[in-house]
Structures are given as C-alpha cells and as structure tokens.
Symmetry: C2
Subunit: 163 residues, 2 copies
C-alpha cells in the first residue's frame, strides 16, 4: 500500500475515524461500535493512564485501520489486544498483519511478554481466527456458550520473543 | 451469625467499608485494593449503568463481607463475579457461601445464566479455589503464566439452574 503511515498519538478526530472504520467492517453491533469509540475518547481524555493505546494506519488523512491494546491490570507482562479493524476496501493488502506485528513490537517495547486476543467461535469469525493463527497466535482456551448459547469465547495468546 | 443482614443498595460509606474488608483479608495488593474501592465509587456515581452491582453482609453498621458482580458486556446472559471478600474474623461462619448463593439468586433474577470467576492458580489461593469448587463452580480454562511466570489464571464457571 503506497503512502501508508502509522501513528500512535491519539488525535481529536480519531473517535470519528474509529467509528467509520469499525462500522465499515459490518462485523460489530451498534453497542460494540460505541464501546470502540468510547475507548478512543477515554484515551483522548486520560492519555496513557486510560490503559488504552492505539496504532493507526493511514493514507494521508484517511484512517484505513487501527489496533487498540493495553497492559492487563494486575499482571506482570500480559497485554490485551482489544480491537483490530481494517476497512473492507483496504483489506487483503497486509495492513492487518502490519498493524498486528507493529503492535507486537510496541508491546515488547513496553515490557509485554504475552498478548491475548478474545474472539468468538462463530463461523462468521472463522477468517478472523485464521488471521490470528497465521500471525502466530495459539488458541489457549475456549469458554463454552460465553457470548450466548452456542457462541463460545476463544482466547488466543502469543508469547513474544525476547530479543 | 446472629443479626446478619444483606443489602444491595450502595451507600456513601461503602468505599471505606470495602477498603477495610479487602485490606483485612491481606490477600490483595495495594493496587488491587484501589481497584476494589474504585468499583464502589463508580457504582455510587453511576448506579446500575456502571455495570457493577454489590451485595453487602453486615452486622449492624459493620460490613463483614461483600460481593461485586455484573453482566459481561456483549454477552447474552453471562455475569462476572469481580470480587468476593469476607473479613478474616468473620470467616468460617458460612458468610462467604451465603454471599455467593444470594449473589447467584440475584444474577438469575437479572436473567443471568452463567457466572464466571477468575482467580490465580498460586497455592495462596488454594483455599479460595476449593471454596468455589464446593459451591459448584467448575474450572473451565487455565491461562498459563497469565499473571506472571508460573502464576496462571483459572477461569471458573457455574451454569445457573433455570427454574
């Protein structure tokens, strides 16, 4: 993708940008979209003390995708990847992989040793789960019927290489 | 325990009461104590919309123990038990079991079907884990080294009877 840039600082326009990206994926419910936007607002208000960090992939002013991640409280070196989303028209260009691997680098830079990702076992998320598996994440646990009857939660983890 | 009463509403003095109870157990770190107190403050500020509900066990004005629980966002009927604590001098009188079973009744009344409890696999928590097992909770998943190297996270679940 030409002219792609990555940015960590959170700006005033990012709640709207995140709303656009997350809605465009058509994967998330209205409530989930609000949650995603709230995390950006929280980071704008409280900075790093919010516990939420971001990485945005942009072409010019246009947000193509982003990750939201943070240290898990009361753990020594575990991080959660709360969100990863890429606009549909920008998918299949490796932007998701780039965002994920750059997020891992930043987590390692912050002293993180493990990254957790939670997702659904539903078939609509099969591509998402394959994406995590290809990126080196292991399915460590499944919580049956967690989200709803028949809708299990999968917990993926990747142990980061210590360099 | 004579004169024991249960209360759901959150009052102005509860942040201090929770701090006292949680500190008295000597199980939690300073940061964990602050988290426990913050949840009460959040419930005082925002009520049920905070997502945190409480059940206090008291003798007169004195708080002996409490639970903090709530619906897990984006799930149909799953609840988390965030905290359960009983003052050491009030333990071994069934107050923990009473708090837990009354919390389960309230969760069922709110439409909850599953209650999750997360705890550590460390040996300091062996009694806590036995307490959950006796109360009908099943160890559904273990996340290795989640809290720290050698300190795994255990996820317990109880599926509530539909009456």
């Amino acid at each position: 993708v030409p002219d792609l840039s990555l940015r960590e600082s959170v700006r005033k326009g990012d709640p709207d940008a995140v709303r656009e990206i997350v809605e465009a994926t058509r994967v998330f419910s209205a409530a989930e979209v609000e949650t995603a936007v709230d995390l950006v607002r929280e980071a704008l208000r409280s900075g790093a003390s919010s516990g939420y960090r971001f990485l945005f992939a942009e072409r010019g002013e246009r947000g193509l995708g982003y990750t939201c991640y943070g240290a898990i409280p009361a753990t020594a070196a575990s991080f959660d990847l709360y969100w990863i989303a890429v606009r549909p028209e920008a998918q299949q260009h490796g932007i998701g992989h780039l965002l994920l691997s750059c997020t891992e680098e930043r987590v390692a830079g912050l002293g993180g040793q493990r990254i957790y990702i939670e997702t659904s076992y539903r078939k609509e998320y099969a591509r998402t789960r394959e994406f995590y598996a290809r990126a080196g994440y292991t399915l460590e646990a499944t919580l049956g019927d967690f989200y709803a009857p028949g809708d299990h939660k999968c917990v993926y983890v990747k142990v980061l290489d210590l360099k």
